[in-house]
């Protein structure tokens, strides 16, 4: 039996004007278990808190009920008060007699009657409260960033600058991501490489950052503060520590016919390669799919010419185990495949290109060294048609239902730059809507139309057909003039929808982080916790969470870093002790709870039990990770046997409240 103290607060006149506080404390003093009941003007004041502390000591109280304002206001205060007097803070219950009683009722008798009932409910609950201790778990002061694009780079730099170790895992041989492939950036038109590559160098030189390039995450175990990650470092057949990045091998390799993915296959590279000049780490990688030595055992030229002796054909994939306190997902995006959009003749004509390919064509380091030339014949195009929303905002199932967000702006950029460099070129942009929310964005778009004479046409392209003369017939509607246009174009540029990288889905499974139907990672809260995954310790950076442009990505990357820093700054994590727990003897092992847990806090183990019939049995039972559980209680209702219960809001506590209220 608990020894309960009841403290009724007047809240000046806020409560006392409508609730007869002494009648309340008098009535509650007769409840079973109540050994002390009083009322006071301001319970939250120092004097009020001292009253509570004194009573706890004097009467040896094991639980206290405070009839006052909303627990959202002062629950934490009174818990501290209790703790200061040596009472477990979770032995405190608040009866909300202000916001939910005195402030909404005018009649004193009614309000007093209700306050008494609310007090009784709190007493009934506190009878069943048990002292709870928040579990502590140590925090590994190291973060993992998955993905080495601008999002990953920025997050890693920000975390490292705060003094924490960061590892970046990047699946390709260099960090840099999509941004490294871009030419200029809107709306300021500064060159992508000029602003990105210094950051890449910063990463490479930062003493707190380690880059695992050409590596992938293989497995993730553990939980917030204490993840155990296995990283697969793929064999690149070049000793990273020895290679100087001189590039000699990449010039001498006899296998010249490898499509260059950095230029989206528009030109060729060798079997041993460095993706681009400013790659970080600047080390060569042998493409095992094309290397003659690795495929047939003959050749070995690169080994011979490498003065540093970095080539190692016997290299194997390496598995690295590392512990992290936090994980940031920055897996980025890719343009979608255009297989479902035959009408644009993308696969039929080399002169129909995606916007990213167009970026490479206009990039000084691209396949045409920055000359705007048609891929088919290398001639300068005179009419270019840009098509917006290719695969975006598409609910027919061919594309993506969402707006890819960046296309309007980069298309304006492409159109503008084309007109600037080649004023003799006619540029048409077919659009459904032009969306330019962002600083200086609309001005930028209007400049393209007004100053650079780009023809913006409201309407969609219905068909692109290669003609015999090498031109492309573009058939489109102009909705404003209500006519169908037929344009003979030299080039067509498709603003292709973007989608999360394919590696995101299996990664989400490993991380038990949730995803939406489009494979974008879900935020813990769409408004209030936009850079956190619902799974504790997993953070989101960049386009893995949704389409974004560079400034947005960078600011989200910084925000994710701030969250990580906040986490890693702690030595231990104090979990909310109001978490689910499973009575193993009652657990069926059916997995219902696991399925509804939004945090992946429940796992199953096979465990040996001494059963009531004295036999020993191996049973599959649920185990709650208290560091991960957030205490929502979804599992408690999913559990048919009632094995799963929630501390602080247990079945019996809630039912006791129900009983007291309905008496």
């Amino acid at each position: 039996m608990q020894k309960i103290g009841v403290f009724v607060c007047w809240c000046g006149s806020n409560i006392a004007a409508t609730v007869d506080v002494s009648a309340v404390s008098e009535a509650l003093s007769h409840e079973p278990g109540v050994v002390y009941a009083t009322n006071y003007q301001y319970m939250c004041s120092e004097a009020g808190q001292n009253t509570i502390k004194d009573a706890i000591k004097k009467y040896g109280l094991t639980g206290i009920v405070i009839c006052s304002c909303s627990p959202r206001m002062h629950e934490a205060t009174f818990r501290k008060t209790a703790a200061a007097a040596g009472l477990n803070p979770y032995m405190v219950e608040i009866a909300n007699i202000r916001e939910q009683c005195s402030w909404i009722h005018k009649d004193m008798a009614t309000a007093t009657e209700k306050a008494i009932i609310l007090g009784k409910a709190a007493i009934a609950k506190v009878h069943l409260n048990a002292p709870l201790t928040a579990s502590q778990s140590p925090v590994v002061k190291r973060a993992l960033v998955i993905g080495g694009g601008i999002a990953g780079i920025q997050t890693a730099l920000d975390i490292a600058d705060a003094g924490f170790e960061v590892d970046i895992v990047e699946k390709s041989p260099t960090i840099g991501g999509k941004m490294s492939q871009l030419d200029k950036t809107f709306p300021t038109l500064d060159c992508a490489a000029c602003i990105l590559t210094p950051k890449m160098v910063d990463v490479a030189q930062h003493e707190k950052i380690k880059i695992y390039s050409y590596s992938e995450v293989e497995a993730v175990k553990g939980f917030v503060g204490n993840f155990e990650v296995t990283i697969r470092k793929k064999a690149r057949y070049v000793n990273e520590n020895v290679c100087t990045g001189c590039g000699l091998c990449t010039e001498k390799c006899p296998q010249k016919n490898v499509p260059n993915e950095f230029n989206l296959g528009m030109d060729k590279r060798r079997a041993i390669y460095i993706p681009f000049a400013q790659a970080v780490p600047k080390v060569a990688t042998i493409d095992a799919n094309y290397c003659m030595k690795l495929k047939t055992g003959k050749c070995g030229l690169c080994e011979k010419i490498c003065t540093a002796g970095a080539i190692d054909y016997s290299q194997k994939d390496q598995l690295i185990e590392q512990k992290y306190g936090a994980i940031v997902v920055a897996t980025g995006f890719n343009p979608i495949k255009l297989d479902n959009f035959e009408e644009y003749s993308y696969s039929q004509s080399p002169d129909v290109v995606t916007s990213l390919e167009f970026e490479r064509i206009t990039n000084a380091a691209g396949p045409t060294s920055g000359q705007l030339l048609r891929p088919s014949d290398g001639k300068h195009p005179h009419t270019i048609v840009f098509v917006q929303c290719v695969g975006s905002r598409d609910t027919s199932g061919c594309g993506k239902p969402y707006c890819s967000k960046i296309c309007c702006m980069y298309t304006a950029k492409h159109a503008m730059l084309t007109r600037e460099k080649y004023p003799d070129t006619d540029v048409y942009v077919f659009y459904i809507d032009v969306r330019t929310p962002g600083k200086n964005f609309d001005e930028f778009y209007r400049r393209a139309a007004e100053e650079y004479g780009v023809h913006y046409i409201k309407g969609m392209v219905g068909k692109v057909a290669p003609k015999a003369d090498g031109k492309l017939m573009v058939q489109a509607s102009d909705l404003i003039s209500n006519e169908q246009l037929h344009i003979d174009a030299d080039m067509v540029v498709l603003a292709t929808a973007i989608e999360p990288d394919k590696s995101a889905r299996p990664l989400a499974t490993m991380l038990t982080a949730s995803m939406d139907t489009n494979d974008f990672f879900t935020e813990a809260h769409p408004k209030l916790r936009p850079v956190e995954s619902p799974t504790a310790g997993i953070f989101l950076s960049g386009t893995c969470q949704g389409p974004k442009d560079i400034p947005e990505t960078v600011s989200q990357a910084g925000a994710a870093a701030a969250k990580v820093i906040g986490l890693l700054a702690k030595d231990t994590l104090t979990a909310n002790p109001c978490v689910a727990h499973s009575d193993e003897m009652m657990c069926n092992g059916c997995s219902s709870c696991e399925k509804v847990c939004p945090y992946g806090a429940i796992t199953y183990v096979d465990k040996e039990f001494r059963m009531p019939d004295r036999t020993v049995a191996i049973r599959r039972v649920a185990v709650v990770n208290e560091a991960v559980c957030q205490g929502c209680g979804a599992c408690t209702v999913a559990c048919p046997s009632g094995a799963m219960d929630l501390k602080g809001f247990s079945n019996s506590q809630i039912m006791a409240e129900v009983d007291a209220i309905c008496k």
Partner: protein
């Protein structure tokens, strides 16, 4: 409900199209092979039905110029299916007339060997309601 509304309701019911799904991108008209023959174009059909302006469409020659090739249906990014609207309008006219635009037995004379199968089917669809 006034007459105009009823007519719209009927078109929507017969066609099974939800015109509200249209985001007015114009791809249907951009893709239409009979565009230049038409006085009202596929996107206008969708928009005008949405506004309830059925009368002009009923008088439009477009409904006989539509090839029922379904390119607009195929390419619409929102699954609106403009050709079904055109067909519903056509039906409305035919039902009002109470007679066929063409007799079925007239059709074979109009066919030639090179006509694609789809066109034959479309012809029946169009003219023999």
């Amino acid at each position: 409900m006034d007459n105009k509304e009823k007519q719209k309701e009927r078109i929507l019911r017969v066609s099974g199209v939800n015109v509200l799904k249209c985001m007015k991108c114009g791809k249907c008209s951009g893709t239409c092979p009979s565009y230049d023959e038409m006085d009202y174009h596929p996107h206008q059909f969708v928009y005008m039905v949405e506004k309830g302006e059925i009368e002009p469409l009923l008088k439009s020659k477009s409904i006989y110029k539509c090839l029922s090739c379904f390119a607009c249906v195929e390419r619409c990014p929102r699954g609106v299916e403009p050709a079904k609207i055109v067909e519903a309008i056509r039906l409305e006219v035919i039902r009002k007339q109470g007679e066929n635009h063409l007799k079925p037995n007239q059709i074979p004379q109009l066919l030639d060997e090179d006509l694609p199968q789809q066109a034959i089917v479309s012809a029946f669809r169009k003219y023999s309601k």
